[in-house]
Symmetry: C2
Subunit: 318 residues, 2 copies
């Protein structure tokens, strides 16, 4: 019989921290990870998958702790030369990082699907756990804002999240097929729990949950699902989630994140993990049909990541 | 009235040397350069134009004198990282050089034609003279060899010209349209001479001369055409021309190059410039319907390049 498995859903930096904690506690036969690809884009001719790369770099111990993104020990000769040519340098591609995109672009160009390409890349980087792009089909996020509709990376990196957000749409999402490896895992007897990492609910988690049939199959499976709030004490630990919530006229609270999940994915969450500083929100969250669980959720050290992972697994009784 | 103009035809390294000498003597309104693009290829998702880049790097003073190709002061972080991923590193793309390919790939992807892209790149690199790709249409060289048919860069770089050559074909050449700027120049009253630089006759010059209508229009124009032999004393100064000639059962001599041009492009050449070490070949070359002109053709120093350029321009009475 297969061993009991956990499926983690994640976007980029914030989610990858908990994913790292989970890999510390669970073997490669106990944990699989599905990653948002709705912020993937083509740039300078390259296929760039920011969330996949953040996860690969984090799990392989190659991530740049100082920058908070990209590779450690990175150099920037290509970007400097591109700047001299007057090229587009707003998306900072380090020299080493470029190798990842060149490798991927070549492989996709040869007709290999993104799932296989990602699997190959992960193995070559020494990542043991299975990393699944949410779909092989391209999905692209459009940020509706007071400056018009912006492709996600233009909003996120080029404009540094400055435009005020009014909503999001995901081109290609309604025709995208869930990565078959993920569908099979959800349908299998071995899946014992799902962890929604503390990623941005709107642009990292929603694209995964809104894949055709994804939420429905998860709900039908009755597998316990736990989400960790990316909002702590009214702030996002990383990224624009808090700013987006304010602009969308939502209270910037963990409660509002729980309400978002309860409204759009009724009955999905068994537990919602909030930070100990937000403990007073627990009773109201409990009324949303999920159980609030309170612990320290800010992950600065490796030990923090492992402790939060351990807490989540205890909730799943793993 | 337009000033008198010279058109130079060139491939990569060898031809670029004479082109550099010509730019030392002729202003940007006196010289235009058409470059072979039949060795262009897509690699790692990038559009790479080796001959155009060699010319741009040479004319902008950025070329790597030690390596004989690529950019001076280059670094290799991307290639090192790609090697760690087990990627294809046989075509050595330096970090700075990558910026050129990224810039071009982006621009072509945006729908800009190669001629415009090349013009923009040249301006951004500070190259004053007009550099024309021979065509906006893709042409790709297939090397027929004892190891089968090989794409040119696989033969040239990956296999280091090791396979024995039996012939060449140029995919797309019969449908490729001559760069309109070049056609216009040939049709104009201002063009006073054409210089075929000492590039490989088979894989650098032939693709240009064999573009539909190119040779015919040159011949009809009665503009004097001068070619410089890439073979000196039975050897190629640079590249596989000598090895190819031996494998094609041709004598490895400047005379055989002259015969190649006389056979395939009858009446085209007015002068054929050979090295002083090959002076004894002059009488036989004269019998081919062109005038052999003997001088020092080995270009090591900038002064060498300028001297050969000066000799060629004297033959054209410029």
């Amino acid at each position: 019989m297969d061993s009991a498995k956990i499926l983690a859903l994640t976007g980029g930096v914030g989610g990858a921290k908990l994913a790292l904690g989970l890999t510390d506690l669970l073997g490669e036969d106990q944990l699989e990870i599905v990653v948002n690809t709705a912020d993937d884009f083509r740039h300078l001719g390259l296929n760039i998958c920011p969330d996949i790369d953040t996860l690969l770099y984090t799990l392989s111990g190659k991530s740049n702790q100082q920058l908070g993104w990209g590779l450690a020990g990175e150099s920037w000769a290509a970007m400097d030369a591109l700047e001299q040519l007057g090229g587009e340098t707003w998306f900072r591609l380090g020299d080493k990082d470029l190798a990842t995109h060149l490798w991927r672009t070549q492989a996709l160009g040869d007709g290999t699907c993104l799932a296989q390409v990602t699997d190959n890349l992960a193995k070559r980087m020494g990542v043991q756990h299975s990393i699944h792009p949410m779909s092989d089909d391209p999905v692209s996020t459009l940020v509706h804002s007071d400056e018009g509709d912006l492709p996600f990376q233009h909003y996120f990196v080029r404009r540094q999240c400055a435009p005020a957000v009014t909503g999001f749409s995901f081109r290609g999402l309604d025709r995208a097929v869930v990565n078959p490896a993920v569908s099979e895992l959800i349908a299998s007897q071995s899946l014992k729990g799902v962890v929604i990492c503390p990623s941005n609910p709107f642009v990292s988690v929603d694209p995964i949950l809104r894949l055709p049939g994804f939420y429905e199959s998860l709900k039908a499976s009755h597998i316990p699902v736990i989400a960790v709030s990316p909002i702590v004490a009214g702030m996002a630990i990383k990224g624009p989630a808090a700013k987006m919530m304010a602009e969308l006229n939502m209270p910037v609270t963990a409660l509002a994140v729980a309400e978002h999940y309860a409204e759009h994915y009724p009955g999905l969450l068994n537990h919602f993990v909030i930070d100990q500083s937000d403990g007073t929100l627990a009773p109201v969250i409990n009324e949303l049909g999920m159980i609030a669980a309170t612990t320290a959720t800010i992950m600065k050290t490796r030990e923090d990541k492992r402790a939060l992972a351990e807490f989540v697994l205890r909730l799943l009784e793993i």
